[in-house]
Symmetry: C2
DNA sequence: ATTGCTGCAAAACGTTTGCACCTAT
DNA sequence: ATAGGTGCAAACGTTTTGCAGCAAT
């Protein structure tokens, strides 16, 4: 299931940047857009490999970087030294709450945050590129946490 | 130059947690508190090594984790897959603006952020542990950027 | 024809681990 | 005495790179 609009955006981006238009790159685009939730580059590579794709690990890493550059994919970082990505389509702008007990990532929006990054950039005479706002927290009621028992929580 | 108060806090933390009180751990504490600005675990290890310390890399990594647990050191993540630390003493709570042109890290405080993480946790029924708010931006006036010319900015 | 992209494997990077020895309790 | 920490080197997982062949322009 391909996204025609995204395909066109990516094609234009590649052309304008004098990057070659190759089938592998569009394979990565399609896989990235189809992925539910957040994924590491290697997750995507393995998924594609399991789906019999012949695209190499290096190409997956390179192409994700291109997709970030043209805003089709957003780069995330949840403090565990793994670069994660998510499709920028379908969803509105949001931030993340990471549960330190179960690893769940809850997406939230808060109107108070919306203009803050731009305001702060103006105050400091910088031009905003992007921002990240991550909250690290714990399930208040462990009983309701679907993942809690699956991990070693003996600490 | 040792910080007596921090030493005492760390000693108490180690004792309460039934961790051994070793000279190596206090060496790491002192080096971490003396470090100006943000540092990676390996940066600290290399600095200590250059200063003729015999503390091993593993001990530096382990001890920094302990220092984070007792809030003497704060763990940071600026989106480049390197875990960074900074002393939690001397400075007030602050967030970070990272310049994508020159790599400078500007610390700022903004009162609108202060209560936001706790509010959002309450809304979602989580217990706040910590948060990170990073803004990625570019020097508006490249001429005034002290680092701009030292990097390859040909892009 | 040229230049950039690909796949592959190997290297690099920050970090963690296994193990034998040592040391604080 | 013994649980736990240390130094060292090797392993680890993620990401990047070098290179020969290939394909888009």
């Amino acid at each position: 299931m391909k996204n025609q609009k995204a395909t066109e955006i990516f094609r234009k981006f590649l052309k304008d940047g004098k990057n070659r238009i190759t089938p592998e790159r569009f394979e990565v685009l399609d896989a990235a857009l189809e992925y539910e939730g957040h994924f590491g580059a290697d997750d995507l590579f393995i998924l594609m490999k399991n789906n019999k794709s012949r695209v190499s690990r290096a190409t997956v890493y390179n192409t994700l970087e291109l997709l970030v550059q043209c805003d089709l994919v957003i780069k995330r970082n949840f403090g565990d030294n793994i670069t994660r990505y998510e499709s920028s389509l379908k969803k509105q702008v949001h931030d993340h709450l990471i549960c330190m007990d179960c690893g769940r990532i809850i997406e939230f929006t808060n109107s108070k945050i919306t203009n803050l990054p731009a305001e702060i950039c103006n105050e400091n005479n910088f031009k905003l590129e992007s921002y990240s706002f991550n909250i690290f927290a714990r399930c208040k009621n462990i009983k309701t946490c679907p993942y809690y028992l699956t991990k070693d929580n003996s600490e």
